[in-house]
Amino acid sequence: MATVSETTLVTTGNESGTKWWTRFLDPSERTLAVLLLMPAALLLTLIIVYPVCRLVWTSFQNLSLTSGVPATFAGLENYTLMLEDPVFWETTWNTVLITLITVPGALFVGLALALMANLPFNVKWPVRLSLLIPWALPLSFAGLIFAWFFHSEYGVVNDVLRRLGFEGVIWFNSANWAFAAICLTIIWKTSSFMALIILAGLQTIPRSLYEAADVDGAGRIRQFFEITLPLLKPAIVVALIFRTITALQTFDIPFTMTRGGPGTSTATLAMYIHQNTVDFLDLGYGSALAVVMFALSMGVTAVYLRMIRAKR
């Protein structure tokens, strides 16, 4: 009490009653918000804004380093070129297909994994670890390892098939099988990302709600759909946003598994961008492709964000 009255004495006469420096500790909500967002904003500006501006600028240029001619302003030429580029359409279609298959796939598998991992195992760490290992395996190596798993002769998959009495499949000789192999790999690799986020969400659901639902007579399934799922929605949306964005950028796994083969049947838009920028040094066209991919991602993100907003 004594100390309290002392401070009060010292500060009387000051209009707001606080020492000047405390104002930095208690800025108004809006100022505080701005301050808190500042580090993120600075980093983003530093690392992203300039490169992205360059990217967009380049996309309006005729900048193919192998052409030997200096860059010229091209307007929308790179974009119109794209419309007539069959490889663009094929890779875009492949990308969309991969997204449509692997995102829900990873969601379901990830959800199942998270629910399973949330069980009260006596020893928790092997389960948690096996959730994390796929995520921790470097992407490009995951592709190589699975390419090997699906290898027609030395692969585990065919080995198991043969042991079960089936004919082995030459996975990479067929566009469909190769596509399937790639999707399976992506789902395996990314479901743990989903599972991690969902698991974290699961841990925040109060137990008492399940108790109430138990008493209300809801079975496990019902509880899952009426309580778990709705309360997981924010976590799921977060996971979906980023899984979708990365799915649209799928590169390493098809690159290491099939190189887009057979033919170009499993090539993705990101591979095509990589090819144009790194191999063909056609920076203008590559940038334009990247901008299109960005637009695609943003479109999807906007849909998801609307979903979050609807929740509020």
């Binding site: 109060p206 008492s208 709600l209 108790e211 109430a212 639902a213 138990d214 008493v215 209300d216 007579g217 809801a218 079975g219 019902r222 009426e226 309580i227 709705p230 309360l231």
Partner: protein, 357 residues
Amino acid sequence: MSSVSFRKLEKTYGALKIVKGIDLEIADREFVVLVGPSGCGKSTTLRMLAGLESISGGEIRIGERVVNKLPPRERDIAMVFQDYALYPHKTVFENMAFSLKVRGIPSAEIKPRISQAAEMLGITQLLDRKPSQLSGGQRQRVAMGRAIVRRPQVFLFDEPLSNLDAKLRGQVRTEIKRLHQAIGTTIIYVTHDQVEAMTLADRIVILKGGEIEQVGTPDEVYNSPASVFVGGFIGSPAMNFAKGTIHSGRVTFDGGASLPLQSHSAGKSAGLEGRDVIVGIRPEHFVPAGEGHALSGRVQVVEPLGSDTLIHFMLGSSMLTARVAPEMRPSTGETLSIGVDPSRIHLFDAATERALV
């Protein structure tokens, strides 16, 4: 078909024994109130009955069925949780409708049931809100509503009215009573409120440290408390206790004052001759001086309640509380002379603290 029985019911958390062998038969349609100090295991017992807590020992039956292993859903029980446990993502209406929907009741029937319950609890205008937009008392009423719409075999209420104001509480209490009379469901009700316990209960169960201290009708537990604990626990303000010794049909307090043991037959008081006892006197059993055998003591605190006045005074080394008419306002320090009806005195053994018949 919805009697409930506990047989040697036990609950341990690790090494800690929380519920220590409860034996209790609750008849169909009975209204049982569970009281006991905080932490004595009331919620735990309800939760075991609801199937939310595993049973460490003994057995619970609902009707004829042993339900030890039955999941909550199959026990046909409704429960109001002490901490509400409302679904945060559902509106009040959806919260109340959930159990009905789960049980496949057509929505044509759900609506009227809910509006009826909402009406009764005064939350009709809140039906579209989410729990986060409600005040504490409003949440509690929603939790009540959620149970009421169910019409189960057994209702469990865990302090359902603790956050309501007196007026609303009285109202809802009356509604619960009416509900019970109308549909006759077995009810087990945990409360800290004396009035609720006394008015609602067919029988009151007093728990202490995980064991049953006494079971009886409100009258029994009020008028014949089995122990000092029950005497002190039931009744508000609490019963006064003072040490004394019995000599030739009188009880003498350590301060020197004494009272005749009028009500006890000569034979019995003979058996008590010379024993150390604890004397229990309820605050409301003090009468104006002159009307009974008088005691006198120095007034310590006077608390006017409006409807009554509480006078705290010293008798020897014990502080006693008397509830008297509101007009009576002695001042602190004054010596008060106040009467006691000897037939209203309770005697407990000083060592065991059990009632002496």
